[in-house]
Amino acid sequence: MKALSHPLAMLGIVLAFVLLGRVLPAWTLSLATVAASNSLIALGIVVLARTGNVSFGQGLFYAAGGYGVALIANSFGLTDAVVQVMIGAVCGGLLGLIIGPLISRYTGIFFGMLTLALSMVLYGALVKTTALGGSDGFNVGRPTLFGNVFTDPREADFMLYSVSVIATGLAGIAATVYFRSELGLVSLAVRANNLRVEYLGVSANRIVAINFVIAAVFAGASGALSLMAQRHIDPQFAYWTTSGEFVFVAILAGYQSVAAVFVASLALELVRSFSNLYLPNTWQLVLGAFLLAVILFLPRGIGSLWTSANRKSDQPDAPAPGAAVTEPAE
């Protein structure tokens, strides 16, 4: 397991997944594209959860990335998929830079509710903005890659799949390196006790703000990927149920492992697809039962399946990020 967590080995895994796309059936390809894109934003929530805070409003940055890319694509004809992902990340990141320092003064449920409120403010504004298509949104053109136009649907799907897997994979590698870095470990200290660490010279607000901006960058890039897959954007990107879905993935994954985020996202997409197919009227029930089962049997998320085996239970039973509550010092 340790050898697999070397950045080069992880890069190899990402490339292997890209090649796997060549042999995957078409329906799996689009499902995997959605799963990869969702895991990118969920990864951001996990990065933030490592400071003990959960954002219930990542849809804000998801929509910022999506709308930013869509507007730039339609105004300047920028259709390159890689450039669009970068634009999405920048749009999300810029908004994160504005909101992060303000919101980092709050913790726990106040933090979560504020993020939710901000995302709903954007939703409301987007619905009322007729210039952006109001609640119907607007369409964008087909993405290209390095000047290549993909007319064959299979090739277009594969291109999207590759871009999603590589973008998410690179973010995953960056997150793994970050988690092991000094700043990543300081984030865990903030999670353990955000007041007590200040005695050690750590500005908890600064650490939360940094993690918040990283989460916003990931969310913006994820919004761009989603936009490319749907070729349409509407205010639903910022709606609270959209944000809730990503928190779902983060809770399923737990905060200890980056790989778990991808597994959780794929598992959620699979459960959703199959329950939708076989139980069209009660698929939400199946999804809920699945989530309950994971919370009951794996309270620290899917990642605990291999991180506990690795570390021989040297971690205390900490709740999954969704249930994370920062304990204030007396």
Binding site: L185, L188, A192, L195, R196, E198, Y199, L200, G201
Partner: protein
């Protein structure tokens, strides 16, 4: 005592939820001295240390460190002045290893020789070398006290504030702790140790302050 005070507490009043916890407490700790702050439970020892570290803001009075008014420094900027604080409940980060716990304050402080500080900590508390890779949550309470002391020592280049370091540890470890503290003498460190009784190594200290219901008790 001719040395200039490194830490000067002047007529400090602190309230916790409108209840006075410190009432005009005054104290001058000269540079390089080893001082003891004695008081019963609830006398205000921890409150004083938290006020120095910026967790509580005095309603009146001032706290000076090296002649500078600490009220100008936010909570997280005080450790970098060279103040190492060891809370009574240790406050280690359970998921991090012993070495990571000790290094934590050094990671966030600029202009400090991290390796030299870590070596210094290992030299003073040899036990930490053996447990450097162990997770803090796997340590016994006494071992955790040593790690917390090591962490305070890492960042506390000028001053150590140790809140009841002898409380709740086995006699053998308590002796070892006294030994470690005694070895700090002559290293240009100013140490303030709070205790609820004076049973521990009276000979260790240069001077003693007694706190009673948040105020100075005249000797």
């Amino acid at each position: 005592m001719t040395a200039a005070p490194l830490l000067e507490i002047s007529d400090v009043n602190v309230e916790i939820q409108s209840m006075p916890a410190l009432r005009g407490f005054t104290m001058r700790v000269p540079q390089g001295s080893m001082a003891s702050l004695v008081g019963r439970n609830g006398a205000g020892k921890t409150t004083l240390m938290r006020s120095i570290m910026g967790h509580l803001t005095p309603k009146r009075g001032a706290i000076h460190f090296e002649g500078q008014d600490l009220s100008a420094y936010p909570r997280h900027a005080r450790a970098a002045l060279g103040i190492g604080y060891m809370p009574e409940d240790r406050g280690l980060i359970p998921q991090l290893t012993v070495e990571e716990n000790v290094m934590l304050p050094l990671w966030v402080t600029k202009g400090i020789d991290k390796t030299a500080r870590l070596d210094f900590v290992y030299e003073v508390i040899r036990e930490l070398t053996e447990m450097r890779d162990r997770k803090a949550l796997l340590l016994s309470g006494g071992q955790q006290k040593l790690v917390a002391l090591g962490r305070a020592l890492a960042i506390g280049t000028k001053c150590l504030l140790l809140d009841e370091p002898f409380e709740g540890i086995a006699p053998a470890l308590s002796e070892r702790l006294s030994e470690v503290l005694a070895s700090l003498r002559g290293k240009d460190l100013t140490v303030l140790i709070s205790q609820s009784d004076m049973n521990h190594s009276r000979s260790l200290f240069d001077l003693e302050f007694t706190i009673e219901r948040g105020a100075n008790l005249a000797h």
